[in-house]
């Protein structure tokens, strides 16, 4: 079960998107949010700080969201960390790949706050 004090990491290479997601999370009642602008930095953060949820984009320079997800799942200390993807990647094959790689939920951009809330709840239900 999750609570409003949980720590969330938002990963997106676009600063405007990070700001939108962080604001949405704050409005949904999750004030404890940190950010990273690519998969490499995100992996570094989750390896050194405790996070309860990662919300990541797919298309990013250096390490993309899918590789970040795979790296998290392969790390014994992080393998159960819930990962939610918020992305423009709408191809069936890509979504299936994310599911097979262990994503907890998947949101297409542009999204709504209701969808974000629903997916966070479900991500914890299935974590």
């Amino acid at each position: 079960m999750h609570d409003i004090n949980m720590k969330i990491l938002v990963v997106d290479d676009m600063s405007s998107m990070r700001r939108i997601i962080i604001n949405t999370l704050k409005q949904l009642g999750y004030p404890n949010v940190d950010e990273a602008d690519d998969g490499d930095k995100a992996l570094e953060k989750v390896r050194h700080e405790p996070f309860d949820l990662v919300i990541s984009d797919w298309n990013m320079p250096k390490m993309n969201g899918l590789d970040l997800l795979k790296a998290i799942r392969q790390d014994p200390k992080l393998s159960t960390l819930p990962v939610l993807m918020v992305t423009t990647e709408a191809e069936m094959d890509h979504i299936l790949e994310a599911i097979r790689s262990g994503v907890n939920s998947y949101i297409l951009k542009p999204f709504t706050a209701e969808t974000m809330k629903e997916k966070i709840d479900k991500a914890f239900k299935h974590a």
């Binding site: 997106d12 676009m14 600063s15 405007s16 998107m17 700001r19 939108i20 997601i21 604001n23 949405t24 409005q27 984009d57 298309n59 423009t88 709408a90 191809e91 069936m92 094959d93 979504i95 299936l96 599911i99 994503v103 907890n104 939920s105 998947y106 949101i107 297409l108 951009k109 542009p110 999204f111 709504t112 706050a113 969808t115 974000m116 479900k122 299935h126």
Partner: protein, 228 residues
């Protein structure tokens, strides 16, 4: 009638095949009759003319394609511009959300501070409920406005794809021109150097109409099928 305007006839082809065999076998006289020599001469001239035309066209194409990087730069500029503008709009939205939250907090304080019997009056009770409903509805509208701005990332992805496709088209034009100017040194293989290694850039239009792309409702169905 010019050579290229004539229909391909079995006779011509047979003649060419015979001449080809003769060349391969080192017997130039075999099949190289006068009619065939004329045909080959005309074919040579025609190919020369075509080659000149292609070289001229190549220069034109090269000039036109040299504009592609400017177009790609402009698209990248549009992405940067929209990102900056989204930040500006976000700044405004954040201020409005802050103001609305402060108003909602003040309203709650006011309701607590005022004697409870005031809200027993039907008109005041109705108005208090309306204010509460309006504040909630405004919060939802502002949230929708906030998340709607995520369109910018979708647009940016499309622009990035178009920009990358444009660059791909330019590199193919360059290779085509190189191939035309190499005067057949590739041995007529029918491919451009490196073509097999590089995929043909996809049409930008498929970004908007790709049938493989699905909507959030379909994603939800897929997630459900996989127990998520």
């Amino acid at each position: 009638m010019d050579f290229h305007e004539r229909p391909l006839e079995d006779e011509n082809l047979r003649g060419l095949i015979l001449a080809g065999r003769g060349i391969v076998e080192g017997n130039l006289k075999k099949g190289a009759d006068s009619k065939l020599s004329d045909e080959l001469g005309r074919l040579g001239k025609y190919l020369q003319a075509i080659s000149k035309k292609l070289q001229l066209a190549g220069t034109e194409i090269e000039t036109a394609s040299s504009q592609i990087p400017c177009g790609a730069d402009q698209l990248n500029g549009v992405t940067r511009f929209t990102e900056e503008e989204v930040h500006r709009v976000l700044g405004i939205v954040e201020k409005v959300i802050e103001s609305r939250d402060a108003l909602a907090a003040q309203w709650e304080t006011l309701k607590t501070d005022l004697p409870g019997e005031i809200f027993q009056r039907p008109r005041l009770k109705r108005e208090a409920e309306e204010i509460g409903a309006r504040l909630r509805s405004e919060k939802k509208l502002l949230m929708d406005l906030l998340t709607a701005l995520s369109f910018q990332d979708v647009a940016a992805q499309w622009l990035r794809k178009i920009s990358s496709d444009m660059t791909g088209v330019q590199s193919r034009i360059r290779r085509l021109n190189q191939s035309l100017n190499e005067k057949g040194t590739e041995g007529g293989s029918g491919t451009f150097p490196g073509e097999r290694r590089e995929r043909m850039p996809s049409k930008a239009g498929t970004l908007f109409s790709d049938s493989r792309k699905i909507a959030q409702a379909d994603v939800d169905k897929l997630l459900k099928e996989h127990g998520l």
